[in-house]
Subunit: 345 residues, 2 copies
């Protein structure tokens, strides 16, 4: 069983205070567009009219997938572990972008199919060396699934203890766009063909093969799955840890930055367990992975960036982070009409 | 007469080198989307396979407009000078965002209708205290127009002498969206109703009034204007200086960041004088000001951000700047498949 959590609602009073503060800044009313809505949301999440982003952090959960043996990815499974090494060595995209914005970068071995060398930025929390292939059996047991969720939550708790109030979750796992596709389809009932995409870069033939495999997987399992059962059946350990991480972060009033398709599929599971998780989420970018746009529409949300990214790793979060900082900066630092002696109309 | 300028073409050889470099980075091919095209363009502009952004700078040109007396803006003309003071005091949106990203901020008095107190960040280059009202006569004389263009160019030359290779141009001027609208209409032949917008926030009635005034202005002047004549007739001193600034920056192979509607209208004039100016331009954002989307389509360009901004001041440039830095960072800092020992497919 998962522990009961309560996600705090936003303060109505604070909403009014924030909106007034935004409207008195020296700019035409509403002229900072989406940044104004962002500033409002950040204030409400962090429950402050002068919010501060403290010790911002990206946690990248990595795990391997049994389905990879069915040839659903353009890359071999060995790449998951190799990329973790690359993250830690500072050479991956997320390493570069996190460094650029002084975002702390933590990598979690949620279930990589290799023994990884210890590193100060690596948290070893391996549930197993990769999931089972859901073409044969559920990807994980219910016990493993719950353990992964709890581990994700406890990793977030540890960041909070360090003073972090702004967090984003990235992922790495060869084959995990297949998991995300199945979770999206099962939990939203959007047709599989609208959830599936090219992942790391499948050609038409490979995409057709992926679709065939996923249809086969769906036939093997019960269709009326609860969110937790769907997660155990089709998920990955990195996805299950993200589910727990989202819920804990929202419970603790953190500002949550959401990355691409796989991160959003994990959020889908979390939001079906606790709808209010979404209040605390900022969607950093809309991916060029096909299902992501439909998933954002399902969430009734817009992303900050649309740059045709399809990388994962939390890269979209790091790229959008300066806009989050800009929203906080204008809210806290811009002069009002009265302070600046500028005529209002 | 304007001095002859030659805008250097891009190196074909360097294009191949840059594309190969991008494709060897540890990420699925093309998965950094628009950032990859951006990295390529930056390398070509700065003529380097390892480009560096040096002493990035935003220059905000400010000027007043005779047309303001016709009530085409939601704000009184006094606001131009007041906002310049606000820029210099650090309280405006562009002050906050430039500070956030360590962008040097320079304000140019191109023709503000007030005497401004001197300040280390202020360049006094006043052509006149505001333009004439083009409902009566051309906004400026041809001599004033050419003087403004040359001044804009020389201000950019001075930045280059300081070591700057990355530059963006913002503007402030009550009434200047009317100038931009007329320039866009005259130089693109797109219908006036598709070029006009609400500026700082006109209501329906005020927008109708603005449209009526601009139609009246068009009737008073010759329809077959050259770009320079159109600029003199309908422009502002801040717009004319931007025209010269764009051309000089492209001639000197600078990376040019383009802001919103008014900045793009100035670029339209420059690009009709020298089409290749556009090669050196990155469009930072698409404004919610109506004409801007159509103008970007006319340029066959896409902007990096779409955040419903409609502020000017160079604010969109400052907000998009971290993405430009990210493109450079991944190009220079990411590991290749070979370096990281990651299996390519």
């Amino acid at each position: 069983m998962l522990p009961t959590i309560v996600i705090p609602p936003f303060s109505i009073n604070l909403r009014t205070i924030l909106q007034n503060k935004i409207d008195q800044k020296t700019k035409p009313l509403g002229s900072l567009g989406r940044l104004e809505a962002l500033a409002l949301q950040i204030g409400l999440c962090l429950n402050s009219s002068s919010p501060q982003l403290n010790k911002p952090c990206i946690i990248v959960f990595a795990g391997d997938h049994g389905i990879a043996e069915a040839g659903v990815s353009a890359y071999p499974q060995t790449v998951t572990a190799q990329m973790v090494t690359n993250f830690l060595a500072g050479g991956a995209a997320i390493s570069v972008f996190a460094r650029q914005h002084q975002l702390e970068l933590i990598i979690v071995d949620a279930g990589v199919k290799a023994d990884l060398v210890s590193h100060p930025q690596l948290i070893t929390a391996k549930i197993a060396k990769g999931t089972a292939n859901y073409l044969n059996q559920p990807a994980m047991t219910l016990k493993q699934c719950l353990e992964a969720i709890k581990t994700g939550a406890s990793i977030v708790e540890h960041r909070i203890a360090q003073g972090c109030n702004t967090i984003g979750f990235g992922e790495m796992g060869i084959g995990n766009s297949s998991s995300a596709t199945l979770l999206m389809h099962v939990l939203t009932t959007i047709p599989l063909s609208e959830c599936i995409g090219r992942g790391t870069g499948l050609n038409d033939e490979q995409l057709h093969h992926k679709l065939t495999q996923l249809h086969k997987a769906l036939k093997l399992h019960d269709k009326s799955l609860t969110p937790i059962d769907a997660l155990a059946c089709f998920g990955g350990f990195e996805i299950a840890m993200m589910v727990g991480a989202y819920m804990k972060a929202a419970e603790q009033r953190m500002l949550i930055l959401v990355d691409g398709f796989i991160a959003s599929a994990a959020l889908l599971v979390a939001s079906q367990l606790h709808q209010q998780v979404l209040d605390y989420c900022i969607f950093s970018h809309v991916s060029s992975e096909r299902g992501h746009q439909a998933l954002l529409a399902y969430f009734k949300s817009n992303a900050l960036l649309n740059l045709d990214l399809r990388l994962g790793e939390g890269s979209g979060i790091a790229l959008a982070y300066p806009l989050v900082q800009s929203a906080v900066a204008f809210l806290n630092e811009m002069a009002t009409f009265a302070e600046a002696g500028v005529d209002d109309h």
